[in-house]
């Protein structure tokens, strides 16, 4: 049922790029992806960005990038689906390619927070709850993940130390990831000594302000430069309002999206050897993995403690370093996730390699508003 080919990757270092504009970042990631792909005639640009309109006050970003990249004109789209934007953009690219409307799609993820102080960045997260109700109350995304973290820890009789292991492992994973925001190790002690941002979530559970852009070239035909293939993808909506979830610890759209993707590919979940999961505030990792059905409820942190999920394990998780190590670039994160799975499956340009055939990228918007899942296969 193949497929869609990943034939070019752009992974800009995640950092505070004070000297570069949103458009510049998008263009740099695009040129890196296109250069690695060789000469291709792209006919479609899809940009995933959450806050270009809110922070940089720029809409129609894809047109702005296209102006410089493909001046003759092409199909352009802008996608916003919260933290799932990038993966949703990949899903749309696949739909365009499957339908025959597009042959070479450049998917770009870009966001930039350093144009504003932290208080404004905090304010943007209020757009990821139901703004009319929880937005005016000041109930931000961090606080909802914190409620879930409390519920999760008490339900599975775990403590803050267990949760602190997640960012520690993520930082370890990011050490050799060249585009990662933080390549230094931290300890459980460091995590537990960091301030709360919303108890039990601490500063070292959370992403730092970041700018970045990632791009992937997706094609209908295999190229010389092809790195991996996209075998299946899906996007499922859930509940924006925390209290409407039947079980706040079960992210239903993640379960549905993963199930559909595995069905599309007729794949046994045990054949997945690599997962890049959107691990918001650390607790997002266990929540999404356990909602996906791939890891049993309450087992993620226990297995992490046993030393599992590292490079070479039967399933490696977030070799990128996740939102903590690699960094979280809002709408761009999903594109990074796809580029990373392709890189880690193939050992692309010096990236570490996990020996497996299948990788899954799992993302959510908000906490449970929307899930997007993409299955990537080694070539």
């Amino acid at each position: 049922m193949t497929s869609m080919y990943i034939s070019g990757l752009g992974l800009l270092p995640i950092d505070r790029h004070y000297d570069k504009s949103l458009t510049q970042l998008a263009l740099e990631a695009s040129r890196e992806a296109l250069d690695s792909a060789g000469e291709y005639d792209i006919d479609t640009i899809i940009i995933a960005s959450n806050y270009s309109t809110l922070l940089q006050r720029q809409s129609m970003l894809a047109s702005l990038v296209a102006e410089e990249l493909v001046p003759k004109g092409l199909q352009v789209f802008n996608v916003e689906n919260g933290g799932a934007s990038g993966l949703a953009a990949v899903h749309l690219a696949r739909a365009l390619i499957k339908s025959g409307l597009s042959r070479n799609v450049l998917v770009i993820g870009v966001d930039k927070q350093s144009d504003y102080p932290q208080s404004i960045v905090n304010q943007t997260s209020l757009t990821q709850v139901n703004y009319e109700y929880h937005g005016v109350m000041g109930v931000s995304l961090a606080s909802l993940y914190a409620l879930s973290a409390s519920l999760y820890l008490s339900k599975h009789q775990l403590n803050e130390e267990d949760l602190a292991l997640w960012p520690v492992v993520m930082h370890e994973n990011a050490v050799d990831v060249r585009h990662a925001q933080f390549k230094s190790k931290i300890t459980v002690q460091n995590v537990l000594q960091s301030d709360y941002i919303s108890a039990p979530i601490r500063v070292l559970h959370a992403h730092a302000q970041a700018d970045g852009a990632s791009a992937v070239l997706l094609s209908s035909n295999k190229k010389e430069s092809t790195i991996a293939t996209v075998e299946a993808s899906h996007v499922v909506s859930g509940k924006v309002e925390y209290e409407l979830n039947e079980d706040p610890l079960h992210i239903e759209p993640v379960e549905k999206a993963v199930k559909t993707v595995l069905m599309q590919a007729s794949l046994d979940k045990n054949l997945i050897g690599l997962i890049e999961v959107l691990d918001m505030y650390s607790i997002g990792g266990p929540l999404l993995l356990e909602s996906s059905g791939i890891i049993p409820k309450g087992e993620t942190l226990k297995r992490l403690k046993e030393g599992r999920f590292k490079l070479g394990d039967s399933v490696a998780i977030n070799l990128s370093g996740g939102i903590k190590g690699r960094g979280f670039v809002e709408g761009a994160t999903g594109v990074y996730q796809i580029a990373e799975t392709a890189a880690f499956l193939s050992g692309y340009r010096g990236y570490k390699q996990q020996s497996t055939d299948y990788a899954l990228a799992i993302g959510v918007g908000g906490l449970s508003s929307v899930a997007a899942v993409v299955l990537v296969k080694r070539i």
Partner: protein, 359 residues
């Protein structure tokens, strides 16, 4: 005395008092500003209530009104007037009464307005409501007195200006926990206390707030009421006067020949400070929380500028049942947390800040 006056068709069908949880000791303020250490004792006020940072006169008024509604057990849509007496309106222009009316389900068929007469606006609203209900124009009216009283930091006024709210639902005598026998107003142009339009804090005439203002007007109103009704000080079981401090109410009682034992049960200021529009009326709420059927209560609020109203109120058999249907004022008076001057300053908005970043 027979039911000669129109007031006697009406009464209090529900009442509620609210005091925020925080308190600051007067000794803390005295220390902060280098005032005379004996002032709290002279004023007979130990500590005063402080609103939380997310509270204001409107939110406190809502809380008192909701308790009154729980006691009244009337359909909110039958309330056709909402009067909000305050001198600390959250908005200079924009009624608070409409927000409270909306939140309680009273809108849209209702009168609603904010009234201002220093500490006496809510009492004016009470008399107006008695008129509206006794005339048959409406069955129920809601009267709220609420203030987060301002005072220039370091001024002696800061020792007493506090926060609290009270609410009454006025309705037919037959449904009332206490009915009005008679009422009497006494108003003159006496500039004892004022706040100019854009000034954040009021000024006052110190000693001038006493004799020509507080005492002259309360005595004028109470004597007027007694002349009008033929009632004597001995006819009353309780007496409640405006309570700018813990001393004035006892002194005015003495002038009127009322023993302090009848005043002390309704004296709340020593524990919570002067809640301005809620001051005397919170005292009334406290009496309703403890009075027996048949008791007669004298109530005389006062507002600078200046004026006083005197009411004779008789408790009915319904008082006990209604009392059980709402939170007692003593709960809010006892349930307290003491805070430092810095917390008080933050909550009261005394710390000057500028707008930060905002999208």
């Amino acid at each position: 005395m027979t039911n000669l006056f129109p007031e006697s068709k009406t009464g209090i069908v529900g009442w509620g008092g609210y005091v925020p949880i925080y308190r600051i000791k007067l000794s803390e303020i005295v220390k902060m500003w280098g005032m005379q250490e004996s002032l709290p004792q002279i004023l007979n006020v130990e500590e005063k209530s402080v609103d939380n940072v997310d509270e204001d006169a409107l939110t406190m008024g809502f809380e008192a009104a909701r308790i009154a509604l729980e006691r009244a057990r009337v359909n909110p849509s039958l309330i056709n007037a909402v009067f909000f007496g305050t001198e600390s309106k959250p908005y200079a222009v924009k009624p608070s009464a409409t927000v409270i009316a909306e939140a309680l389900g009273i809108t849209p068929v209702t009168m609603a307005s904010d009234l201002e007469f220093a500490c006496r606006a809510a009492s004016e609203a009470l008399r107006a409501s008695i008129g509206l209900v006794s005339s048959g124009m409406m069955k129920y009216a809601l009267v709220i007195g609420s203030d987060t009283a301002q005072a220039n930091p370091g001024d002696v006024l800061e020792l007493t200006a506090s926060s609290g709210a009270v609410a009454f639902i006025i309705g037919p005598k037959e449904e009332s926990a206490a009915y009005f026998e008679a009422s009497y107003s006494y108003v003159t142009d006496t500039p004892d206390f004022w706040r100019r339009a854009l000034s954040p804090y009021p000024l006052h005439g110190e000693g001038f707030t006493g004799e020509p203002a507080y005492f002259a007007h309360i005595v004028g109103a109470v004597k007027g009421l007694m002349e009008k009704t033929g009632l004597k000080p001995t006819d009353f079981d309780y007496a409640v006067f405006h309570q700018p401090n813990g001393r004035f109410p006892l002194k005015v009682a003495q002038k009127l020949g009322i023993p302090k034992e009848k005043v002390l049960p309704g004296l709340v200021t020593p524990r919570i400070g002067n809640t301005y529009n809620a001051s005397a009326l919170l005292g009334l709420a406290k009496i309703l929380d403890q009075a027996k059927p048949g008791n007669r209560i004298l109530v005389a609020p006062f507002g600078s500028g200046a004026g006083s109203d005197a009411y004779s109120i008789v408790v009915t058999d319904l008082v006990e049942e209604k009392r059980r249907n709402g939170t007692l004022l003593s709960f809010f008076i006892e349930n307290k947390v003491n805070v430092s001057y810095s917390t008080y300053a933050k909550n009261r908005g005394l710390i000057k800040r500028i707008d930060g970043w905002s999208l």
